[in-house]
């Protein structure tokens, strides 16, 4: 069957994950090479695809596309998966480089090293920059001297620990156990140079570890760690790489185990080597008790996570690579792993299983391959699945989270926390703060979760107590919680398909609005200042009649008068009254303003008496069209909308009033066309 180079696998894998043609530049980006290189691979890719019945389609202006049935794609995917791991990746190369540096006790010539590794000096130099960080994580340092070479500076203890890390980074737990069962092909490339010695060292070390009184619960990973620790020790002792002794005390348990190991060995261990075993056993016991990973685990976890992501991508058939958020999320999840404060993922998992049925299985299979069968429970895996699921549904851009921040006074510390949150979580668009006392007044259902700096009473929604300075580890806890919210997995609400715009109705509204606007006026009633309400209303009605808004002024004035007698029309606290009515005699809806020659005492809407100097008059036909009534209602609403607006109706001139009326029409039209 076909074998693939790293690059070919990368390209094919990327293409498999695409639903439409992709530009060469994008492919080149994904596999970290140039467009030219991709272009040169074309014929080879076509050759590789042929046995699967797949075709490479070149779409003009759009790029490459894999054409073929789902079955054929699946076959290719499986083949890629099977061949996976046979050729080294960039990370493998960097691990090898780090290993070679560690293995060499003195200065190593870079020119020679590049030659041995079949890479260019400039690649080597780049890789050195990359592995620099790994060394400092292990309290080691690469001393680089231009034109001469490089040397690792640090203690033997730290070197060994880093060697174990590198082996972990290169060796799946699964593969490790297969190796112990006799499958020597599973020995990682790093150990090939002294193959026989390593095979012996590993087997005899495992024989020692296996006799320890370990309980069944102890994870495969810890057994592997113990075996590697003893094997590395044995190889290093053989090469006379000596440890420094440090005066330290160990718990009795640890010493008992060291004695046990010593009793099963033929040689007598020097005190420095006993210390190495003591340290390793202490570490084993601690990590078992706390379930935590410690220093130096960072790179292992990161490299393992990369592998995990790669495997899940292959198994699930969708690329999760190059998603830094996912990688960082998983790494910090694994590193800060503690059982406390972990929200229950059950709900979310159900949702993921429903929407992405194969995802859980893919993650589980990949996890078993990469970390070993018993390393993580389903409960832990659930969190990983959430991280992957989060990529699929991209939670943070879709539904904004609403967060309540609570501190005891609602001032200093919650403000500080708010700032930190805004900085760390741009996706938390709606943040509100409150005092502990104040949350009683809030409707908590409005929030997705609460972050508090003080203990909270019983609250019905997810919450966390955090340090107001929000250090990084707490950022991770918050992230975890956000990830566990069901909301994180809701797809974005599809925009409701807009209804067809009712143009006829809109025209009706605009026509009516235009008509009312045209008829709008502010006029002073020319009459005797002592005139009574009947006289005033007749004068008002005459105005309407003169401008042909009504047929009969008398009929309108009696309608307005009757309404006035029914209940007061004065607006309390002002000098205006709002006369209005619907009548057969009205031909066109209208709103007009009349200034009285002198104050008139009228009853108000709150049933008291008030002095009125201006009348606002709204009239409509008995069978007024809906649009007209809506517009007149909008004016009524505008009159009492705010004190400022009320005072414009009370004292404003035509322009000012027209502006406010116009604005109320605008709001109404916007509502009508769904612009709000």
């Amino acid at each position: 069957m076909s074998e693939f180079t790293t690059r070919e696998r990368g390209i094919l894998f990327y293409l498999l994950a695409q639903d439409e043609p992709v530009q060469l530049a994008k492919i080149a980006d994904a596999v970290e090479t140039s467009e030219r290189t991709i272009h040169r691979e074309r014929e080879q890719i076509e050759r590789l695809l042929a046995p699967f019945g797949l075709k490479l389609l070149l779409v003009r202006g759009k790029g490459w596309f894999l054409e073929g049935e789902e079955d054929e794609r699946r076959m290719l995917r499986e083949q890629l998966l099977l061949s996976h791991g046979t050729s080294p990746t960039t990370e493998d190369r960097q691990v090898e480089l780090a290993w070679r540096l560690l293995d060499e006790s003195g200065l190593i010539k870079l020119q020679a090293l590049a030659h041995q590794m079949h890479i260019s000096p400039s690649t080597l130099s780049q890789d050195l920059d990359k592995v620099d960080g790994w060394f400092s994580e292990h309290n080691l340092r690469i001393d680089r001297r231009k034109g001469i070479g490089a040397e690792v500076i640090g203690t033997e203890f730290n070197r060994r620990r880093m060697m174990i890390s590198l082996l972990f980074a290169q060796w799946d737990v699964l593969a490790f156990f297969r190796f112990l069962q006799g499958d020597l092909n599973q020995l990682p490339a790093l150990l090939q140079s002294r193959r026989q010695r390593w095979i012996e060292a590993l087997n005899s070390s495992y024989a020692l570890i296996a006799t320890l009184p370990l309980d069944q619960q102890r994870s495969d990973r810890l057994i592997m760690r113990g075996t590697l620790a003893l094997a590395v020790q044995s190889i290093r002792m053989f090469e006379h790489k000596e440890m420094q002794y440090e005066l330290k005390t160990y718990p009795l348990d640890v010493l008992k185990w060291v004695d046990l190991i010593q009793s099963k060995r033929e040689d007598i261990l020097p005190i420095t080597e006993r210390q190495w075993i003591s340290e390793e056993i202490k570490r084993m016991i601690q990590s078992e008790e706390q379930g935590s990973n410690e220093e130096g685990e960072g790179i292992v976890v990161r490299l393992r996570v990369k592998k995990l992501i790669e495997q899940v991508s292959l198994l699930y058939g969708r690329s999760f690579l190059h998603d830094n958020a996912l990688e960082n999320g998983l790494v910090s999840h694994l590193l800060s792993y503690t059982k406390q404060n972990a929200p229950n993922p059950a709900v979310v998992i159900k949702q993921i299983e429903r929407e992405y049925p194969r995802l859980f299985d893919s993650v589980k299979q990949a996890a078993h391959a990469v970390f070993g069968i018993h390393s993580y429970s389903d409960y832990d895996l659930a969190f990983w699945v959430m991280h992957f699921g989060a990529v699929l549904v991209q939670p943070n851009v879709k539904v904004p989270y609403r967060v309540l921040v609570v501190c005891s006074a609602g001032l200093g510390s919650s403000k500080m926390l708010l700032n930190r949150l805004r900085h760390e979580f741009p996706e938390l668009s709606e943040l509100q703060n409150s005092s502990l006392f104040g949350i009683g007044q809030l409707n908590l259902d409005q929030f997705d979760f609460i972050l508090a700096t003080v203990p909270l009473p019983e609250v019905p929604i997810p919450h966390l107590i955090v340090n107001p300075l929000l250090p990084q580890e707490e950022v991770q806890r918050v992230r975890k919680m956000i990830l566990s919210l069901p909301k994180s997995f809701q797809a974005e609400k599809k925009p409701v398909k807009k209804e067809i715009l009712d143009l006829k109705r809109l025209k009706e509204i605009v026509d009516q609005a235009h008509s009312i606007d045209e008829g709008l006026s502010v006029s002073k009633l020319a009459m005797n200042p002592g005139a009574g309400v009947e006289e005033v209303l007749l004068a008002v009605s005459n105005h309407f009649e003169a401008e042909e808004f009504v047929d009969s002024a008398v009929q309108l004035s009696s309608r307005l008068l009757r309404r006035h007698e029914m209940t007061g029309l004065g607006i309390p606290g002002t000098t205006i009254a709002l006369f209005h009515g619907r009548d057969d005699t009205v031909k066109r809806s209208s709103f007009r303003v009349f200034d009285l020659p002198g104050p008139l005492s009228l009853s108000s809407m709150d049933q008291s008496e008030q002095s009125v100097e201006r009348l606002l008059v709204l009239i409509a036909p008995e069978e007024a069209p809906d649009a007209a009534l809506m517009l007149l209602s909008a004016i009524s609403g505008a009159i009492i909308e705010s004190p400022v607006q009320t005072s414009i109706f009370e004292n404003g001139d035509l322009d000012e009033i027209r502006r406010v009326v116009n604005e109320s029409f605008r709001l109404l039209i916007e509502r009508e066309i769904g612009a709000q």
């Binding site: 709002l578 009515g581 619907r582 709204l618 209602s633 909008a634 609403g637 009492i640 909308e641």
Partner: protein, 93 residues
């Protein structure tokens, strides 16, 4: 439960429109997710359940729950409506 409160008045575009505006603001302040509509008493839809307005108009309408509001511009006049609707909403939840 029915989520619409109707306000009625004589003309259907002044007192009830103003009252609706005031009641909406109060409902929003109380976080009650209810709709407010207004109309003439005689145009009240048959399905209306909750109706507020001056007693003389309430007398003309047939609805299960009626609330007399004589001073439409006074926010306090809607206290009884709010209190009742709050209990309805809680009961429903």
């Amino acid at each position: 439960m029915d989520k619409t409160i109707f306000i009625v008045c004589e003309s259907g575009f002044v007192a009830s429109a103003m009252g609706a505006s005031i009641l909406r603001k109060r409902l929003a302040a109380e976080c009650l997710d209810l709709e407010v509509r207004f109309c003439r008493a005689k145009d009240l839809p048959e399905a209306a359940v909750y109706v507020a307005g001056p007693q003389k108009f309430l007398d003309q309408v047939d609805a299960p729950y009626r609330f007399a509001v004589e001073t439409p511009l006074d926010a306090k006049a809607y206290d009884a409506v709010i209190k009742f609707m709050e209990s309805k909403v809680n009961e429903h939840e």
